[in-house]
């Protein structure tokens, strides 16, 4: 990027309501730090603590999704094993029309697109009451604590969001797609 483009880049983000944006390798320690600073910022703007906690919870779920499921890794062909791998993704947090929102994106393999799309379409059609029931059922039959997660992240976000989760898939090449989602608090 040319140095004189940085300001217009920042202005672009601001125009779209984005006040926080991170693109690159995400780690557990990093998500703790940016989760904490976001919580602080929102608590200063919002009298209700619950809002800051909700934004925080979305950021944690999305960042952990990137860590666990992003197909974009650093280094690319890692022989040292999973522990050494970094997962790459993008997270943006903003405010528009009276609501905070969290955007998240990462690369996934084509073969996972349809399954994910189906799950998200299903969640979009559910009422709050149905989401609550679905969450409980999935938690009950979900994998045990040995797995990476419980597969509950998107249902939890859909429950806490003020409107259905928006999402998009863009084809990158013959093997990969880019998955984006937006949750509004």
């Amino acid at each position: 990027m040319v140095v004189d483009k940085l300001y217009s880049f920042k202005k672009d983000l601001s125009r779209q309501g984005v006040f926080f944006c991170f693109s690159g390798p995400v780690s557990q320690d990093l998500l703790v730090e940016f989760g904490t600073i976001l919580k602080q910022k929102i608590k200063l703007e919002m009298p209700r603590n619950a809002v800051a906690l909700r934004v925080f919870s979305m950021v944690v779920e999305q960042a952990q999704n990137i860590i666990h499921y992003s197909a974009e890794k650093c280094p690319k062909d890692n022989k040292a094993g999973k522990e050494e791998e970094l997962s790459i993704g993008i997270i943006a947090v903003g405010y528009e029309s009276g609501h905070y929102f969290v955007l998240s994106g990462n690369v996934i393999e084509h073969q996972n697109v349809e399954r994910l799309r189906k799950r998200l379409i299903k969640l979009r059609k559910m009422s709050k009451e149905e989401l609550k029931k679905h969450y409980k059922e999935q938690r009950r039959k979900g994998p045990d604590i040995i797995s990476k997660g419980a597969g509950l992240g998107f249902i939890d976000m859909a429950k806490k969001a003020s409107r259905p989760i928006e999402f998009d898939f863009k084809t990158i090449d013959e093997n990969y797609s880019f998955f984006s989602s937006k949750t509004v608090i």
Binding site: N49, K136, L152
Partner: protein, 128 residues
């Protein structure tokens, strides 16, 4: 057996399980990257503890979780399952689900756990 004490970190709760006083406390936030790594020793301890517990023994569990991620929520369900079984085996277990006044999400989670468990006594306690 020995008590179990695990210090609070930024993303794992403090665990203070006292097998002499029969008070088990989990306080803090829970969103570790590797959920199994953190909770495996906690569940090992609990199984040993429940195994040696006398019939009709009173046990108090204080849970004060400001935030927990979705995979921790599954762990909490497993935790309450263990306790419900112990209640079925004649133990007298009481859970205090402690939440901050404005934290409606944690309160909601507490209500949902109440609905899921018939025999285990889960009290919703507003932090005063």
């Amino acid at each position: 057996m020995e008590n179990l004490n695990i210090e609070t970190t930024k993303y794992t709760p403090g665990i203070s399980f006292d097998c002499k006083k029969n008070i088990l406390e989990i306080i803090g936030e829970s969103y570790p990257e590797n959920i199994a790594e953190f909770y495996a020793p906690v569940f090992d301890w609990l199984e040993e503890y429940l195994g040696q517990l006398k019939d009709k023994q009173d046990v108090i569990i204080n849970m004060e979780l400001v935030y927990f991620n979705s995979s921790s929520s599954k762990v909490l369900l497993d935790f309450f399952d263990l306790m419900e079984d112990a209640v079925g085996n004649g133990k007298n277990i009481k859970v205090n689900w402690i939440y901050e006044e404005e934290d409606e999400d944690t309160l909601e989670f507490g209500k949902e756990f109440q609905e899921d468990f018939e025999e285990l006594n889960i009290n919703l306690v507003k932090k005063g």
